[in-house]
Symmetry: C2
Subunit: 558 residues, 2 copies
Amino acid sequence: MKTIIVGGVAGGMSAATRLRRLDETADIIVFERGHYVSFANCGLPYYVGGVITERSNLLLQTPESLSARFRLDVRVDHEVTAIDRAAKTVTVRQTQTGAETVESYDRLILAAGALARTGITPAGLATRTLRTVDDVDHITALLAAVTGQASAVVIGAGFIGLEAVENLVHRGVHVTLVEFGSQVFGPFDAEMAAPIFDELLVQGVDVRLNTTVVASADGGVELSDGSVVPADLVIDSVGVLPDTSLAARAGITIGASGGIAVDGSQQTNDPSIYAVGDGVEKIDAIDENPTLITMAGLANRHGRATADSIAGEPASAAPALGTAILGLFGLTAAMVGWSEKRLVRAGRAHRVVHTHPASHATYYPGAEGMSMKLLIDPATDAILGAQIVGGSGVDKRIDILATAMTGALTASALTRLELAYAPQYSSAKDPINQLGYVAENLAAGTTRALQWHELAAARAAGAVLVDVRSAGEFAAGNIPGAINVPLDELRDRLDELPDAPLIVHCQVGQRGHTAARILSQSGFDVQNLDGGYRTWTAGETSLSLTPARATNSERIPA
Amino acid sequence: MKTIIVGGVAGGMSAATRLRRLDETADIIVFERGHYVSFANCGLPYYVGGVITERSNLLLQTPESLSARFRLDVRVDHEVTAIDRAAKTVTVRQTQTGAETVESYDRLILAAGALARTGITPAGLATRTLRTVDDVDHITALLAAVTGQASAVVIGAGFIGLEAVENLVHRGVHVTLVEFGSQVFGPFDAEMAAPIFDELLVQGVDVRLNTTVVASADGGVELSDGSVVPADLVIDSVGVLPDTSLAARAGITIGASGGIAVDGSQQTNDPSIYAVGDGVEKIDAIDENPTLITMAGLANRHGRATADSIAGEPASAAPALGTAILGLFGLTAAMVGWSEKRLVRAGRAHRVVHTHPASHATYYPGAEGMSMKLLIDPATDAILGAQIVGGSGVDKRIDILATAMTGALTASALTRLELAYAPQYSSAKDPINQLGYVAENLAAGTTRALQWHELAAARAAGAVLVDVRSAGEFAAGNIPGAINVPLDELRDRLDELPDAPLIVHCQVGQRGHTAARILSQSGFDVQNLDGGYRTWTAGETSLSLTPARATNSERIPA
């Protein structure tokens, strides 16, 4: 059996090595159009920033090492340019010499990945992506040649764009971050991205939201707001699209999402041809529709499954949650499943919980704050998604939630997770348990919550806002027009409250819940402002960044 | 409705505050025999060590704060001495004055916790437990009064004993750790506890295994090995037992495990009396039998459930996994479910996986090593338990496994967990995914594994050991008598291998797996030494600490 693999990074190489372990006698050829295989793509930004100091650390394997250990025939600088499905051959071009050869296959695995999205950055502008070893060689050489402080423009404030910003700042480069949308870190909901925006400003990054690059200019680029910003280097990180041209030319079915369509064993419409990685559709775990999720972990897992399938082992791809994480100047931002705005766009009912716990018991030194958002199906109590931003312990909590979703635990079932507790690691009620308690109270009707973006309309309709924090907290900053009745005085001051629907709030939501319980049992019509003053503030900040032309439905989850 | 709660720490106070939130009109009285309520018991060792610097940080609530916020009638220095179930009253003694009163109840919640186990440390020896604020006041005063370097003996190398050791060392105290058993950290299997033992030696702790304290001696204590060790202070941390005397005197059913027997709503055999916390039996998640697990998280959760039950809300306690964690001189040791030795004792079939991954991608700086052990039901592929010891990221991985167990994910299903990956947080295949891959290969028969403690017998029966590490690794330390054939040369040197059953090993098990695949497909009868040289070394170290009098069945999982 002869297997040809097109693409030698995550998905392709996972398939190749697994296939060898399953079958010592298989013929396995890997064609990689670039000069490197199995390189650490997720590490590239950190080499630019000097965090990873040795270039050799990016090169996890070489054709030689793969031959010695796995008897793989790995040919770099070889691009597969055509597939003849009837003859079961591929045409391969040596990219340096242009020499073409034809190679037969019994099984073909397409693992060519993705390409940078075009059409947003103007054609003709000299930009560089941050996707290959060549890219980082180019970028580091360019920066090294600048005398004085270098300047860079980064286009696109997603994962790669923000990682590029962090590393350029770390290297001493002045950075302008240009983002077409009204928030940074688009995968997050706007109020959850507020701490990231704040941190970028603290780090001296010139953040331009609602802006595009329109042209090159003397010593830099011109932006859509008419300004010119300096740029020795322009990094294009507006995103990627599946690289499907080879497949499409051969008549392989491309799905509606734009990726190669595959079944649960990564097989395309041609039973001899498999596909895996960023070029391929995944099944979304939330709505079970085909979708695009470009993650190294999925590419590795599906590459392995492809090998199992070819070797006759059972293999079926599980639906994908799209768990993802960003490190940025000591902040961590992580998510799983769907965001609120995506649920809104899909017209899907959802319940929202915001909390602001500490990473571990606050009586032990070093606890760091985090903000959490949980999205729940109100009919089934299923977890639909989560976002967390903060300091230490964010990665742990998103992984717990991803595992809970894979195990089909409901939001209320998060209460019964037994998570490891000693005061330097967690609290006796871990932040995940606390999310569960809030969710359970909402599901049981023990508490009623109002979201930050619903507050203005509720007050316009006559509701009165009661801030149950201490007088000192109130004085340090409050929501205009709120009445301050500290929680510990509430039972004795009920007669001061108006005969109107009440909205209570505290700093993070917990005291507000106790206040809401007191008031509802005293006959008041009361809702607790979810996430308290902290979520409301983040939400208002995010609104203030949105241009006036945006309609309300574009700005907030209606 | 009048509810009396006996005990004002984790379980009792969770019940009290939840009950108030559910019922503004309830009469709630909390009797606490100590002088403090809601104190940070898990923080006490760290106050002794000076990590927590403010004593006030240990006191999370006071009777006054609980009255203001929750209208609770909290009476410290009040011990409930008797229950009259027919009259539904309790007798209460003020511990300072001795004055007795009788108080009626509609519902009674017993949350008195546990007491230090007696009978191991000789009667008459002046020891101190480390369980209350009074204990730490006594210990810190005693140490402050010592001129020069203080000395302490800690009896018992479990969670509290090891936390006490760490904090005493941190404070500059010379510590002798006296442990009756043949390993430190008894909840772990011996080979997994080896790094903890090593670290104690590095920190200068005088560790005495297989030893007891037999008597007080001039300036210290005499040990069972005949030696006398200095001790300004002796901390007794041999463990705790449920405090059930009040309940037993009142005819409340005590279970076979020694804790108060309760149903899923924490109700005792008296429908007006509930019990919660360390004094109460839990249902073990592995065998569904009643068991004792003393954890703050369970006490809190079950306290809340008790309040729900009394208030008429649905409440049912989930079975308990006993997730637990220890921090020790920068090491973290964590576990969930059952250990191998417990499975052996119960006669329960199990499969074992050892791995030694890095906390995150090794191409990114700062990755720390960890050792993992997974225990699997070979019939169902269910996860029965796990142990992890290492640096950063241990707490995350044990929580993922605890969540996977709660979600009833199989060991093989760990392969499909989508865990957040960026190189500073994880690897594209997280250590948890890797555990899953090994488990899946074992379940599928793709690989056959041999455990460290099975090696000697297999070799005695004629198996030949092949070390597939590099020549340099082999030279730096090897298993006596092994043949060294580096993996990358293996295919070319098959004819050097004897016609005998082979056992292959590498450093951690991964190259061994590839070698085993090559060899089995070449017709050899081969097993991979699980966990490689590293697990074998840890296992041999643990054996060397066991006295010769121990039988084989006591020393290792047979």
